[in-house]
Amino acid sequence: MSEPVEVRGQSGTVVRANVLVKILRNPMGLGAVTVLLLVVLAAVLANVLAPFDPNFADIGKTLSDPNAVNVLGTDSVGRDVWSRLVFGARTTLLSALLCATVAIAIGLPAGLIGGYYGGKFDSVANWVTNVLMSLPGIIVLLTVRAAFGPSVWISMIAFGVLISPGYFRLTRTAVQSVRNELYVDAARVAGLSDRAIISRHIFSVVRAPIIIQTSMICGVAIAIQSGLEFLGLGDPTVATWGVMLNEGFKNVYLNPMLLLWPALAIGLTIGALVLLGNAIRDALEDAEKVKVSKRGKGRSTAATATVRRRPERSATESVEAGTEHHLIKVSHLGVGYPQADGSVKKVVDDVSFHVDRGEVVGIVGESGSGKSQTAFSILGLLPDAARIVAGSIQFDGTYTVAPNDDRVSQARLSEFRGKRISYIPQEPMSNLDPAFTIGYQMVTPMMRVLKITKSEARARALKLLDDVGIRFPQKTFDAYPHEVSGGMAQRVLIAGAISCEPDLIIADEPTTALDVTVQADVLDLIRDLQKRLNVGVIIVTHNFGVVADLCDRVAVMQNGRLVEDGRVRDILRNPQDPYTQKLLGSMLENKEPMTMLVSTGAPAGLPDDDKAAAL
């Protein structure tokens, strides 16, 4: 974790020596490398290691058991099993290499050209790829064998061609993603030739995936080749593991050991190649992870703390007397993320505030200030890794996070969430499931929470869509999320948030992702609904304009801490904390007067074309 990681070039390729160390530290990687080294050694030293010629047959000594001369015994025509096994390693490895070489020789250049230039070549190459990929490999190889005879080498060349789309696709995707990167543009502007760009910038990106792919493909090639030979379609004059397997299977009732050795050799080698590929991938991904977390650490300034122990006692615990009337009360809340080194990175630190019925409270801060994390702790929607490290949260007189809890109790919160506490998200589009209609996504929660029938829920949903200012509720009800505009989607989400008559609405930057004109409409809508339904609202925002427009009280957060809170009027007029002053200064300058936040634009909720017509 704390190892130094050298990084070369913009592609972020990690220096290979380091990756090798990582592979060897991984038990699977170490095993794979050991097995492969042994097999390679056997192949290289076959002449030395094998006492006999692989095809030397001693007819007088068939199917003999292991002995001093034939260490693994002999096969049905008296050939030495050990000698055949070592020579088999040579043929098998060479054929796998041949297959991978052919595949790379075709796939890599084609992928580079297709990905970099696109155009006709790319479409033709794609068509060929589709043809090759819809071919069942073995059937084709059987055909090739019928045409050209039982040669290991020819079938491996053919298989290389068949499997080349793997390299083509890999290279093409990588090149396409890099082609439009700024640094490649810069290189182009600097006058580098296409060839230089491809070899310098692009090749470095595809190198690692190609090594991984090659490892896997060698495994597949060995499997296919020994498979064909096992079927009796190989060249019987060449000693390979597949031919031995065939021979062993024929004599399985006489001597199953004949089957064992080649099966073991094939299984171990293929397994080692696959595991090696995985180990390389893990090693490269690990390097990525270290980089990311380092960056994260550099940025965070929050203090560290230790994780609390999980509470042993039961859930029902009475809240502090005299505070039951608060709708929500957050006391000394701390939220943290355990790190790999055992420390806890705190993102929320000693935050306390409360919200009463009918009150609108803003939580203001810049990104990374912990305001959203605070909101999600109230909703119980923190990421799995998050821990409550201090404090408590109570909703309407019951703890949702009791003192000493280390996580939000989902059991307790599920009684409130969606029923009495609801949520308006920031980015409207990504918060609707693209696979379901808007109507479905509104009706289902109502059926589950309010226990009403589908038709009742449907009627209610249409009414709600009308309430939030959508002009054609039925049309929107039937639409899929991608068929409506961002502003409409946010209205849909607001309608969803009020659909089950909550007491508290938590809005997480409800206008940030919207167009400026739509922002004002949405704020108006939230204000209207809040007055009409008399709900408590927490608005998380970085925008003091929104606070001034909507809120009764405000809490200002910085680096996970609450720096100031109070009535909006007081804080706007007389901010105490320097950070609040800075925020206010940056917000009020260069801004339109606040009255502009009131809607002056086109009527909301029209489909885009109608809106254009209205203007």
Binding site: V131, I138, T143, A272
Partner: protein
């Protein structure tokens, strides 16, 4: 929608054409001694020559291909050169066995890998570690080696299963299960290993989506979110993997069928290619490719149905 299907069928036909020509072209080289092989050593040169003319071997390649192709278009794939059995009839008796084996395996892979992948994605922790390690190891075992081990250990040594799984059509269900169990297991391990990994990462990707958080905030139960929303959005990734596995398996099953002595297409493919029985080989190739094209089309249609955005475009 209709134009999408027509387009896919069009491209399927172009692929089919290309493949049949390539296959025919390759087989052309193997047909040099075919008449002699059919008639045997004792046949006279005249007899061999007459046989060649009968089979159309004296014609140029393109003429032969065109002749075969026009007949094939009408569903006439000719007769085997060696057994004189109709190619279509020969395939019809073999195809069900192969398709059952592959189909049952794919369905088992789909179920098992979905369960494992989802468990790993949802539970994380040790369940995830276990599934991932298992997947890597399972990926590393070549299926035909596994098949050989299974036959040797369970069928030959312990005789728990029949070593040769020839299934009579009227055999009872239990005999049927017994004969299919080992081949399916052999095909299963690899498939589950790679599909479970894909499904795991697809489910994790969906679980991190914003809409999942919003669904939770609406009071929808975790089970409903998982099985209705997340699984649906993760399904296309899984289906794509399964369709690729299906293609691979149609080839791999050739070896598995030999190991378990199943009289499916695989045995036919081996026989016909070793003998150079061109009409039969062409039949096998064409049937396989047609099955692959249909499977790909069906997967595309299901993916379109699952994702309304694709449906529109």
């Amino acid at each position: 929608m209709v134009s999408f299907i027509l387009k896919r069928i069009g491209s399927g036909i172009s692929v089919l054409l290309a493949i049949s020509f390539i296959a025919y072209f390759l087989l052309y080289f193997s047909s040099a001694n075919i008449a002699r092989n059919i008639l045997g050593e004792s046949a006279s040169l005249d007899q061999v020559h007459a046989k060649e003319i009968e089979l159309g071997l004296d014609q140029p390649l393109l003429t032969r291909f065109f002749d075969w192709f026009t007949h094939a278009l009408q569903g006439d794939f000719g007769t085997s050169w060696f057994t004189s059995q109709g190619v279509v009839e020969g395939l019809a008796s073999r195809l069900p066995i192969t398709l059952t084996l592959v189909g049952v395996s794919i369905i088992c892979i789909a179920i098992v890998s979905t369960l494992l992948g989802m468990a790993a994605a949802v539970k994380r922790g040790w369940v995830d570690k276990l599934v991932q390690t298992g997947a890597v190891l399972g990926d590393a075992i070549p299926s035909f080696v596994l098949a050989i081990v299974l036959v040797t250990v369970f069928a030959i040594q312990f005789q728990l299963f029949p070593a040769t799984s020839s299934i009579a059509p009227d055999a009872g269900a239990s005999a049927w299960v017994a004969s299919m169990a080992l081949p399916v297991i052999a095909l299963l391990i690899n498939g589950v290993a790679s599909a479970a990994q894909q499904i795991r990462s697809a489910v994790i990707k969906q679980l991190e989506k914003d809409y999942v958080r919003t669904l939770r905030s609406r009071g929808i139960s975790e089970t409903e979110i998982l099985f209705k929303h997340v699984l649906r959005s993760a399904a296309p990734a899984g289906l794509t993997v399964l369709s690729l596995q299906f293609v691979g398996m149609l080839g791999g099953v050739v070896i598995i069928e030999q190991i378990f002595a199943l009289p499916g297409m695989g045995a036919l493919a081996v026989q016909s290619t070793t003998m150079g029985d061109i009409p039969l080989v062409m039949g096998v190739v064409l049937y396989t490719v047609i099955i692959v094209i249909i499977v790909n089309l069906v997967v595309d249609l299901i993916n379109g149905w699952l994702n309304p955005k694709v449906r529109v475009s």
